[in-house]
C-alpha cells in the first residue's frame, strides 16, 4: 500500500515531462529541418502520459480501456494514411473526434458531480461542453462539405445571424442558470443540444473558399474546449495542450482572416460566407489565348518563372505534371519559384503539402510576402487553378467585393499565363480583370492536361533557344 503515493508522483512526473515535450515539439515545428524531431517529441510525450495514466489507482477495470485504445488505433491508422488531397477533410474530421471526446467526458463529469457542482467548476464545464458540441457538429459539417458528401455551395436564409446569435445566447443563458442551480440536471441536455444545432447552422452558409478560415477557427475552439476540460479534471497537462492547440488555431485564424481581408471579429462570430451574390452581367471583352506550343516557346526563353498554384491544381491532380514542368525548366537554367497565397487551397498550408508531395523542394515554395517583390523582375507568371488571389481588382477597384484583400501581384510580371477551363468566374463569382490585360495569355484546358502538353512540347519540340 505504501507504493501508491509513489505511483501518483510518477504519474505527475510523466505529465510534467510530457508538457515540456509538447512545447518543444511545437518549437521544433518552426523549420522543416527540425520538424520531424518535433513529431518524435510529441509522440514520446503522449506515450509517457498515457503510460503514466494507466498506472493510476483510480482505474479499477482495464477491459474497456484496452478495447477502446485498440479500437481507436484501428480507426486512426487509415485516418493517417489518407491521400494528401484529402488532408483538409481529415483534419476537420479529427477536430470533430477531439471535440467528441471532450464533450462526452464533460457530460459524464457533470452527471458524476451533480447536484453538488461548485460555481466555477460549472462555468468551465459549461464552456467545455458548449465549445465541444459546437465544434463536433461544425467540424463534421465542414468535413462533409470538403469531402463533397454535402452541398458545397453556401446555404443562406434570412435572419441567419440572428438565429445563430439567439442560439448562442440561449446556450449561455442555460449555462448561467445551471451555474447557480446545478441541481436542475434536466437542463443539461439543452446545453448539448443547442450548440450541436448551432454547429450545423454555423457551417451551412460556408463556401469552399472560406474553409481555411473555418478549419482554423474550429481548431481554436477544439483547443479551448480541451483546455476547459483540463480545468474540470484539474489536469495541468491537458490545460497546456489545449492552450497550445487553441493558440495555434487562433494564430492561423487571424492569418487566414487577414489574407481574406476580413476583420477577426467578423470571423470569430461566424460572419462567413456573407459575400454578395455575383452580379449577373458576364463580360464579353476579348482575351488572348495561346496553344501549349506557344506557351512552351515563351517559357523556354524565360529567365525567371513564378508558378501560382490554387485549389484548381489540386482538383485536377496536376501537381505531378507541374513538377515535370518545373524539372524541365530548371534543367534549362530557368529560375522557377512557386508563389503560395495563405488561403490557396482548402486549409492553411494546403498547397505546400501538395507540392512537397510532388517532390518540389520546399525552398522554392514562397509565401506571398516573400515573393511579391519578385514579380516585376519575373518573365512569366504561370497561374494554375488560382483565381481570386491573383485578382488585381483587390488593389484597384474599391467597388469589388474583394477590395483590400492582399493578393499575389502577378499582373506586374512581364507575361501572365493562366491555365483555366473556361472564362467562367471564380468561386466567389468575381470577375478577374487580369484575364483581359494585354500581357495575359489564357491557356484554356484542364490543368493537368495542359501542363502535360507544355511538358511534351518542351521535351519533344526540340530546343527553341
Amino acid at each position: 500500500m505504501t507504493s501508491f503515493p509513489a505511483a501518483e508522483t510518477i504519474i505527475e512526473l510523466t505529465y510534467l515531462v510530457a508538457t515540456v515535450l509538447f512545447v518543444m515539439s511545437l518549437k521544433w515545428m518552426s523549420s522543416p529541418a527540425t520538424a520531424r524531431r518535433g513529431v518524435r517529441a510529441g509522440e514520446l510525450g503522449m506515450l509517457l502520459a498515457i503510460a503514466g495514466t494507466l498506472l493510476s489507482r483510480e482505474i479499477v477495470d482495464y477491459k474497456w480501456v484496452a478495447i477502446a485504445l485498440v479500437l481507436g488505433a484501428i480507426i486512426g491508422i487509415p485516418l493517417g494514411k489518407v491521400q494528401m488531397t484529402a488532408v483538409p477533410q481529415r483534419t476537420a474530421l479529427s477536430h470533430a473526434f477531439g471535440a467528441c471526446c471532450v464533450t462526452l467526458v464533460g457530460t459524464a463529469e457533470f452527471y458524476l458531480r451533480a447536484p453538488a457542482v461548485p460555481k466555477f467548476m460549472m462555468s468551465v464545464l459549461s464552456m467545455e461542453v458548449i465549445l465541444g458540441s459546437l465544434t463536433f457538429t461544425g467540424s463534421l459539417m465542414a468535413a462533409g462539405k470538403l469531402q463533397e458528401i454535402l452541398r458545397q455551395r453556401p446555404i443562406t436564409f434570412k435572419g441567419q445571424n440572428f438565429v445563430n446569435l439567439g442560439l448562442l445566447l440561449a446556450a449561455i443563458g442555460v449555462a448561467v442558470y445551471l451555474v447557480f442551480n446545478p441541481d436542475q440536471t434536466y437542463l443539461f441536455p439543452v446545453l448539448l443540444a443547442v450548440p450541436l444545432l448551432l454547429g450545423v447552422l454555423m457551417i451551412i452558409p460556408i463556401g469552399g473558399a472560406d474553409m481555411p478560415t473555418v478549419i482554423s477557427l474550429l481548431n481554436a475552439y477544439a483547443g479551448l474546449s480541451a483546455s476547459a476540460m483540463g480545468f474540470v479534471l484539474d489536469s495541468k497537462l491537458l490545460i497546456v495542450a489545449g492552450a497550445l492547440d487553441g493558440a495555434s488555431g487562433l494564430i492561423l485564424s487571424i492569418n487566414m482572416s487577414k489574407a481574406m481581408n476580413r476583420s477577426f471579429s467578423n470571423v470569430l462570430f461566424g460572419g462567413f460566407g456573407q459575400e454578395q451574390a455575383a452580379k449577373g452581367g458576364q463580360e464579353t471583352r476579348p482575351v488572348r489565348s495561346a496553344s501549349p506550343e506557344e506557351a512552351a516557346g515563351i517559357l523556354s526563353v524565360a529567365g525567371k518563372v513564378v508558378v501560382v498554384p490554387g485549389y484548381g491544381m489540386a482538383v485536377a491532380q496536376a501537381q505531378h505534371k507541374v513538377r515535370e514542368l518545373y524539372d524541365n525548366l530548371t534543367k534549362r537554367g530557368i529560375d522557377v519559384k512557386f508563389a503560395i497565397h495563405p488561403v490557396a487551397g482548402r486549409m492553411p498550408g494546403h498547397m505546400n503539402v501538395l507540392l512537397a508531395e510532388a517532390d518540389i523542394p520546399y525552398d522554392k515554395l514562397l509565401d506571398m510576402d516573400e515573393i511579391n517583390g519578385d514579380f516585376p523582375q519575373t518573365d512569366v507568371a504561370l497561374i494554375i487553378g488560382a483565381n481570386d488571389v491573383t485578382n488585381p481588382a483587390a488593389r484597384t477597384d474599391a467597388a469589388s467585393p474583394i477590395y483590400g484583400m492582399p493578393i499575389l501581384d502577378v499582373d506586374k510580371a512581364r507575361t501572365v499565363m493562366v491555365i483555366k477551363r473556361s472564362m467562367a468566374a471564380g468561386f466567389a463569382g468575381i470577375e478577374n480583370p487580369l484575364y483581359y490585360m494585354d500581357k495575359t495569355l489564357m491557356l484554356f484546358g484542364d490543368a493537368k492536361g495542359f501542363a502535360g502538353s507544355i511538358v511534351r512540347e518542351l521535351t519533344g519540340g526540340g530546343n527553341h533557344s
Partner: protein, 98 residues
Amino acid sequence: MKMDLITSAYVFLLAAFVGLEVIRRVSPLLHTPLMSLTNALDAIAVVGAILLAGAHKTTLSTVLGTIAIVAATSNVVGGFFITDRMLKMFKSSRNPKP
C-alpha cells in the same frame, strides 16, 4: 478547490502565451502539418477519458469514457502518423535528405 482553479488559470494563461510565441515562428510552409500535430497533441484528452472509463463509477460514465477513448486515440494515432508522412515529403533543393 478555489486555489486549484486559480493555479489552473495561471497555467492556462502562461501556456497560451508560450503557444502564441512559439507558433508565431512556425513557417507558413508547415501550417498544415502544424495543425495535424497540434490536433494530435490535443488528443491528450485521452488521459481524462481513460481515468473516466477505468474508474467505472457509473454505467453512463464508463460508456461515455470508452467512446471518448476511441475518438481521442484515433486522433493520436492518425494525427502523428499523417504529420510525419507530410514532413517526410518536405525536401530542400540545397541538401536533399535521404
